[in-house]
């Protein structure tokens, strides 16, 4: 019998709530096959449930614990993650709680040797980074999941078995009141780095694991420093290793450092050992002040991914699908992009709007993304935690040069997680039309935001579904009119958006949405002449564009994007 912890976890700043187990109908003989069962109510599992609900798909969400996870864990959300949260309708509380930031400073032998301001376009709503503890990420998502009214949230429910055939999967769920069988058309495995589902299916990840253990310690302390990424290489108190410091809401600070080789996690987490090192860090950053420990853990770096995120009726996402290094904030931010790619595809397949093979493109796109992240994150990892003497010596040479030369400084770049480009996706179409544009947002790339006014951005206005941006000066072309009609008639949701160079008033009602673009900002960002059309997938990636609208091509592109047809 599964006995989840019923005592709220200890924290000096966060008040854990216990969500009681509720006996499900299956335990009283009232089973029915759920369209989707999501295993794991971490950030990725919950966001998947929320996005499915936005497409009208109900789900059952299984979580083995009775409360949100322990510790601040994933603290940094990228701009892309904030855009995904906004599109899912849940960004508000994150913005109210989180601390936004855009630069990092690196120190060596007490000198600032590298400063990096992450790119920020004035057309972007969100800054490059937002720090927030994972307890809050999960709390806000729990509230949002429950607000959908379409998710059966089952706390204290642990998956202990899984079988599947071509038609459905059968989960065995253990609870405080005993076990039951739960049939599902589809299973989303969002059960984290130590995924039980991955183990049950005997799937192996590919890639490498890095030696070297790191401690993460969260302390409450009145440190007088801005929100930024602070990195100290090779400090006197921890020779050869490095220290990262990040500010979090509620006066909490994340301290992250590599342990001397050979030291075990158990030794490092001894209270007196940990306390002495925290004092050394505070000394190093010139902030010797009283502090209290909230949470500490040990981690090591991996660049591992499953070679296929689909196994029959089971779809892997987030850490269950890949284990990525902490450097460059790859964990939750990659997972959010996974579920943003998966949710619309799964919703369309379940609703009969697309064939099952659309789900294979989820795996293709996101495995490719994971492999690129492993490659890129591996570089940061080899610099931050040199795996052997060669890399250590080269890293030390770069640091030594950083005090008198700048030519090698960009090796200290920490390569922050960024949205992946699906340039080679089978869901893109009309490459010749794509190539005919002079710049703009090409097929496969994520759409870009545009500031329209105070607290008013293009992405704020977009409803769930495909977006069909139609650019016009004063008259809507015949081709565009036919496209708007085709969008309205399409089986999948397509929002037609007229971007009008003139003040759009006269065009009101001509499409689902009319946006006045008198300054031509949207047209410029998308390099779109009057008469052009851009088709954007529900996860915000461009999948086709034409300089001249053509309803026939639009119908083909929409079919290709739903995997109903091979690319044109």
């Amino acid at each position: 019998m599964h006995q989840p912890e019923t005592t709220p976890r200890a924290s000096i700043f966060y008040d854990y709530q216990i969500h009681p187990f509720v006996r499900p109908p299956e335990m009283d003989g009232r089973a029915q096959t759920a369209p989707v069962v999501i295993v794991g109510a971490g950030p990725i599992g919950m966001l998947t449930a929320i996005e499915l609900a936005r497409f009208g798909v109900r789900s059952i969400l299984l979580e083995s614990e009775l409360q949100v996870s322990h510790g601040s864990r994933a603290i940094v959300l990228t701009r892309r993650s904030m855009e995904i949260l906004q599109h899912a309708g849940v960004a508000g509380p994150f913005l109210r709680k989180g601390l936004q930031w855009s630069q990092g400073r690196s120190f060596f032998r007490g000198r600032e040797v590298y400063t990096m301001v992450m790119p920020h376009d004035p057309d972007d709503r969100f800054l490059p980074g937002l720090n927030i503890q994972q307890q809050y990420i999960e709390e806000y998502l729990v509230e949002a999941v429950n607000a959908t009214g379409m998710v059966d949230f089952r706390w204290g429910s642990k998956v202990v078995g899984l079988t599947q055939d071509a038609g459905r999967a059968m989960l065995r769920v253990d609870t405080p009141e005993g076990e039951y069988d739960l049939p599902a058309q589809w299973v989303v495995a969002a059960d984290g780095g130590r995924s039980a589902i991955r183990r049950m299916l005997e799937l192996r990840m590919e890639g490498r694991s890095y030696a070297g253990n790191f401690v993460i310690a969260d302390i409450k302390c009145d440190i007088d420093l801005p929100t930024e990424r602070l990195c100290h290489f090779d400090p006197a108190w921890n020779p050869g290793n490095n220290v990262l410091v990040h500010r979090q809401p509620d006066g909490v600070w994340r301290i992250d450092f590599r342990l001397p080789d050979g030291e075990t996690a158990e030794d490092a987490l001894q209270p007196d050992v940990l306390a002495q090192r925290i004092e050394s860090v505070l000394d190093m950053i010139g902030q010797r002040k009283p502090w209290m420990l909230d949470w500490a853990t040990v981690y090591s770096a991996n660049t591992l991914t499953l070679p296929d995120f689909r196994a029959g009726r089971v779809l892997f996402t987030g850490d269950a699908a890949h284990l990525l290094p902490i450097f460059g904030v790859r964990g939750a931010n990659t997972g959010f992009q996974d579920c943003d790619d998966l949710a619309w595809k799964l919703a369309f397949v379940i609703s009969g709007l697309a064939p099952e093979r659309l789900l294979d493109t989820y795996s293709q796109e996101r495995v490719q993304a994971a492999r690129e992240i492993c490659e890129e994150g591996g570089k940061s990892t080899r610099f931050m935690t040199p795996p052997n003497q060669g890399f250590r010596l080269m890293r030390d040479a770069v640091l030594s040069f950083s005090l008198s030369e700048t030519f090698a400084n960009d090796l200290m770049h920490w390569r922050t997680s960024r949205p992946h480009d699906y340039a080679h996706s089978p869901l893109n179409s009309f490459p010749d039309d794509d190539a005919a544009f002079d710049g703009g947002i090409a097929c496969g790339a994520p759409m870009r935001n545009v500031k329209l006014g105070d607290d008013d951005y293009l992405m704020d206005r977009l409803a769930p579904g495909f977006q069909l941006l139609l650019f016009t000066d004063n008259a809507v072309t015949t081709g565009q009119t036919a496209m708007i009609a085709a969008a309205k008639a399409a089986a999948v949701p397509v929002n037609s958006v007229l971007v009008a160079a003139a003040q759009g008033g006269a065009l009101n009602g001509a499409a689902d949405l009319v946006i006045g673009d008198a300054q031509g900002k949207i047209a410029a960002k998308y390099a779109a002449p009057p008469g052009a059309a851009v088709l954007i997938r529900p996860d915000g990636h461009v999948c086709a564009r034409w300089r001249a609208a053509d309803a026939g091509k639009f119908a083909t592109a929409l079919a290709v994007a739903c995997a109903k047809k091979d690319a044109a």
């Binding site: 032998r109 570089k379 080899r382 040199p386 052997n388 003497q389 060669g390 890399f391 010596l393 080269m394 770069v398 030594s400 040069f401 005090l403 008198s404 030369e405 700048t406 030519f407 090698a408 960009d410 090796l411 770049h413």
Partner: protein, 62 residues
Amino acid sequence: MMEKKFTNPQLEEVFDLIAEAIDAAGEDKRALFLAKLALALSNIIGDPAAVRRAVEAASKDL
């Protein structure tokens, strides 16, 4: 200050290449390998004054 001649991808490529070659040389031959590498690069540059500037830059902050 030396002029930066590499793009970042080139810089990363060279960093990885040399790091792996140092390991391949083995612990007791590491210094010998690095001395040979410095000589080979000097020969490729073919300019003693430039090599002198590199030696000066590399000698700082050890």
